[in-house]
């Protein structure tokens, strides 16, 4: 881990920078980010860390609203995240998202995966995903769980409007559009489940660390 400065009140914990701990090969970046996210949230709960925002992303965790970044960086450098087994909540079942697999881009995904559409659907339906981070729009979770070799490119020309509830793939991630928006991800299906509702706590159904299954509706 390298701790990068990010202005007067923030630090960026970067997990792409070597040296990587020996013995963690292959390095599962998403697991490392998730372990650190959980560790930092726990430390904040216990009053050992002051940060307004703890924002996990693809290979980093941002700490923003940190009163003294230099002193905080020195403390964070001494911390070791608890192993995932210790942080996983064994009682929590995965969130089941009922998905109608009728997306316009299923044939395209099948082509990239060198298989047919039913096999794509079976693969997505049996994968256990985890919310790596949120971004792009409120409640939009980047779901990891597919192997790197199944990564797919975005559309070269994004659609001007992707309906809310669209289930889609891009790069190594799956995602569900919480609201209608322009989008370049490959559409594989849709769900009726409400993913972002400001009247409930937490407002996002898919929060970082949550396990998710995209079960056929």
């Amino acid at each position: 881990m390298r701790i990068r400065p990010a202005g007067a009140h923030a630090l960026l914990l970067d997990f792409t920078t070597p040296p990587v701990d020996p013995g963690t090969s292959p390095v599962d970046l998403a697991a490392l980010v998730e372990a650190w996210r959980a560790e930092l949230w726990r430390r904040r709960e216990h009053g050992e860390l002051v940060a307004t925002e703890i924002v996990p992303a693809a290979a980093t965790v941002l700490l923003d609203g940190v009163p003294d970044p230099v002193a905080t960086a020195a403390r964070v450098a001494d911390w070791t995240p608890a192993p995932p087994a210790a942080t996983a909540d064994p009682g929590a079942d995965p969130v089941e998202v009922p998905v109608t697999y009728d997306g316009a881009d299923l044939p395209r995904v099948a082509e990239h995966w060198r298989t047919d559409v039913p096999a794509v659907v079976r693969r997505l339906a049996r994968t256990e995903f985890r919310v790596a981070f949120c971004g792009f729009a409120p409640g939009f979770g980047y779901l990891t769980g597919l192997p790197a070799e199944l990564a797919v490119p975005r559309l070269t020309s994004p659609r001007p409007r992707v309906p809310a509830g669209s289930v889609a793939l891009a790069g190594p991630y799956a995602g569900i559009y919480p609201t209608a928006s322009p989008g370049g991800w490959l559409l594989v299906g849709r769900t009726e489940l409400t993913l972002f509702d400001v009247r409930v706590e937490p407002p996002a159904r898919l929060t970082p660390g949550t396990r998710v299954r995209l079960v056929p509706a």
Partner: protein, 292 residues
């Protein structure tokens, strides 16, 4: 006509909404991990001052008025205060001052003129704008569409009950609106993705605020900043004031409605972005860093 919510404390009728008038308070920090940005007044100190002038708690929701001004009509007698851009204010036929409490009789037309210098001003109303809060804030997030929509002609905004008396202030010192800004930056987190020449250009040449700037970010034009590392950066968290450099090399400074994550490298972070709230297109921006 849109009645935003019921209220017993009167409403403000929006007679002319202007180019962009939004409800703003101090925003909704603490939700970035769910993809929800901070939002809030682009110059929080100006909104705080306006609120103090009318006897509100500093975090009370007011209006952020952009460039063209707006016209409002409160249905009950109230006190307002305007802080920010240099504008003409009229209560009915009488001229008023910015930076001090103004009494507005019930039904009188409050006219806020176009900005002569600066770009935005903040209007506090005694009791505050009492639209329903979303995730603890009444701020309009123009990127994600959270909070109340930007004002439209004919809207009726509910007012809250006044809490305290107006501040015993005669006049506040007007803030100058320079046509050149000198912004302190700290390099990072991704300055190592750029050639040394890019750091020299960033800290040694002048940039110009582009007309494409908005509450999400101040877009700049000037010398493009050459990258040392090609390729894509995996999305990572963004902070207020981040100077992001997209593919065309032209820097963009993120303001209150910035996305929570982004995939272009951030070369530096501006210490204080509040001056950019008043930066009209064409304003010159120079950066200086503690490192050099």
């Amino acid at each position: 006509m849109t009645e935003r919510t019921g209220s017993g404390a009167g409403v403000v009728e929006v007679v002319r909404a202007g180019a962009l008038t939004t409800v703003q308070d101090l925003g909704r920090p603490g939700w970035a991990h769910l993809g929800v940005t901070r939002s809030g007044a682009l110059d929080p100190s100006a909104l705080r001052l306006a609120n103090r002038l009318v006897g509100n708690p500093e975090s009370t929701a007011g209006l952020e008025i952009t460039m063209t001004g707006c016209q409002l009509r409160p249905t009950r007698a109230t006190t307002v205060a305007l802080v920010g851009a240099d504008v003409d204010v009229r209560v009915g036929d009488r001229p008023g001052d910015t930076g001090r409490p103004l009494a507005v009789p019930a039904g009188a037309l409050l006219r806020i003129g176009p900005a002569r210098a600066g770009l935005r001003c903040w209007l506090a109303v005694a009791g505050g704008i009492a639209v329903d809060p979303v995730l603890g804030s009444r701020a309009t997030d123009t990127l994600a569409g959270l909070g109340p929509a930007a004002l439209r002609d004919g809207d009726r905004l509910p007012l809250g009950e006044p809490i305290g008396p107006p501040a015993p202030v005669d006049v506040t010192v007007p803030v100058p609106h320079p046509t050149e800004l000198d912004l302190a930056v700290r390099l990072g987190p991704r300055h190592d993705w750029f050639r040394t020449a890019a750091l020299d250009l960033l800290l040694g040449t002048a940039y110009t605020v582009s007309p494409l700037s908005n509450r999400i970010g101040a877009r700049l034009t000037g010398a493009p900043l050459p990258r040392a590392v090609a390729g894509e950066l995996p999305s990572e968290g963004l902070v207020l004031g981040a100077v992001q450099v997209p593919a065309d090399g032209q820097p963009l400074i993120f303001l209150a409605d910035h996305p929570t994550t982004g995939g272009y490298p951030v070369i530096a972070v501006v210490d204080d972005v509040t001056l950019l709230a008043q930066a009209r297109p064409g304003t010159t921006v120079r950066f200086h860093g503690p490192q050099r």
